[in-house]
Amino acid sequence: MAQDALLAQLRALRERVAGITDTVLASRDGLVVTADTADVNPDNVAALAAASLGLAQRMTAEAGQGRLREAITRSSGGCVAIFAVGASALLLVTGDEGLDTGRLHRESRSTVEALEKLIASARPVA
């Protein structure tokens, strides 16, 4: 089932990158599709992530800086990174203070591409 495959991608990303604590795949309007979480409420962060990603893309456009790669919120206790997954979804990743965001940027590419393909393959046929 596509749902299990989507969750497997989230778990695999957490296995590959030390410091990731939670991941959520959500629709662009903030509804959880699947989540691998323990420390955050997936509903809450999905809704916030949708708003954050929209604002970040708007800011990228306003600043004339090309295409948004990821939106990162950095705090004293860790960070939150949000990636666009195609046009219909987003990936939220939370991490502790030791999360290497450069490594996350590189490793997330394959995860985002895999998620896009899974979503495309699960698309209802007209």
């Binding site: 089932m1 596509a2 749902q3 989507l6 969750l7 497997a8 778990r11 957490r14 296995e15 030390a18 410091g19 604590t21 959520v24 629709s27 662009r28 309007d29 509804l31 959880v32 599709v33 699947t34 989540a35 691998d36 979480t37 323990a38 997936p42 509903d43 809450n44 809704a47 708003a51 929209g54 604002l55 893309q57 708007r58 990228t60 456009a61 306003e62 090309g66 295409r67 948004l68 004293s76 206790g77 666009a84 195609g86 046009a87 219909s88 979804a89 502790d96 203070e97 030791g98 999360l99 290497d100 490594r103 979503i119 699960a122 698309r123 209802p124 007209a126």
Partner: protein, 306 residues
């Protein structure tokens, strides 16, 4: 590989190298040097001094932020001491311990390559005077040997890979010393020893020893891998899809393109209510697709009726 790293650091010490040594591997990291001595190590494999000071509660976050702002023109360490947040001797001991711990994390995880780079990099809390690389390598060798001798742990690299859970029936009743209560509370089957160290603001080596002892006493068990049938972490609880309001015209920015007005939240618009019937897994994936007449979907459309 630790031997190779030791040789590289020895050559750096001999020529009084000022700069960094980039260590490739898992976790990898950056070793900062000044005059051939080691001043700091940045690695995602072990908590640094800032994490240790903040997470352990020794320095409150607002005090840290104030010191950080004030230290813009000078050393952060001196500012922390000046403000009485940490003693000079305590800070030096902490920096030295964090250095040794980071080296242990670098060495036990796997070193693929180590390359000196000339340009010094910013370092918030450098150890002064710098540590002798020979001392650091010798201390790391001893720690690696100690970790390898622990009977209750898998391979040393497991501290960044194997995840730990409280054993069934391990009562979190309190009263256990050595930070064991905190470890039991945090061991949720998802955290590695490295993750526990970050969450606690303690060294990876110290947590390694504690976890080994707790496992031997039956308080902790290795968590099954997520891809094994018995070890799958719980997926997100089913989320009730809230009926969505009609979309605002030009409400959301396209991917990377310019857009119209920002979306406005309507009065009463909030999070999905859990008292509504939950959407099953198949339905939830369909949230990603626009609804076609008579078909599933949720993006830009109304959700299930009450």
């Amino acid at each position: 590989m630790l031997q190779r790293l030791g040789q590289v650091l020895s050559r750096c010490a001999a020529r009084g190298h000022c700069g960094v040594v980039r260590v490739a591997g898992e976790p990898g990291g950056t070793i900062h040097l000044s005059g051939g001595g080691v001043t700091a190590i940045d690695t995602p494999g072990a908590p640094g001094p800032e994490v240790i000071l903040l997470r352990s509660g020794r320095v409150p976050e607002p005090a840290w932020a104030a010191a950080f702002s004030a230290a813009a023109a000078g050393p952060m360490g001196a500012e922390l001491v000046r403000r009485g947040l940490v003693g000079a001797g305590d800070l030096a001991a902490l920096l030295r311990a964090a250095l040794a711990d980071a080296m242990f994390a670098l060495a036990s995880g796997g070193l693929a390559d180590c390359v000196p780079a000339g340009a010094p990099a910013d370092c918030l809390l450098p150890l002064a005077p710098p540590a002798d690389p020979g001392w650091l390598v010798a201390a790391t060798s001893r720690r690696l040997a100690a970790a390898a001798a622990l009977p209750a742990l898998p391979a040393p690299a497991g501290h960044a890979r194997d995840r730990w859970a409280a054993a069934p029936g391990a009562a979190v009743a309190g009263g256990r010393g050595g930070g064991r209560d905190a470890i039991l509370a945090l061991a949720n089957g998802r955290r590695t020893i490295r993750d526990l160290a970050f969450a606690l603001g303690r060294g990876v080596f110290a947590v390694t020893l504690e976890v080994a002892l707790m496992r031997a006493e039956g308080l902790l068990v290795p968590a099954a891998r997520p891809d094994t049938p018995a070890g799958a972490p719980a997926a997100a609880a089913p989320v009730a899809a809230r009926p969505r309001p009609p979309r605002e015209p030009a409400g959301e920015a396209a991917d990377g393109a310019g857009a119209g007005p920002l979306p406005r939240r309507r009065p009463g618009q909030g999070l999905p209510r859990r008292d509504r019937p939950a959407a099953g897994p198949a339905d939830r994936a369909a949230l990603l697709w626009p609804r076609r007449p008579g078909g599933p979907g949720g993006l830009g459309t109304s959700g299930p009726a009450d």
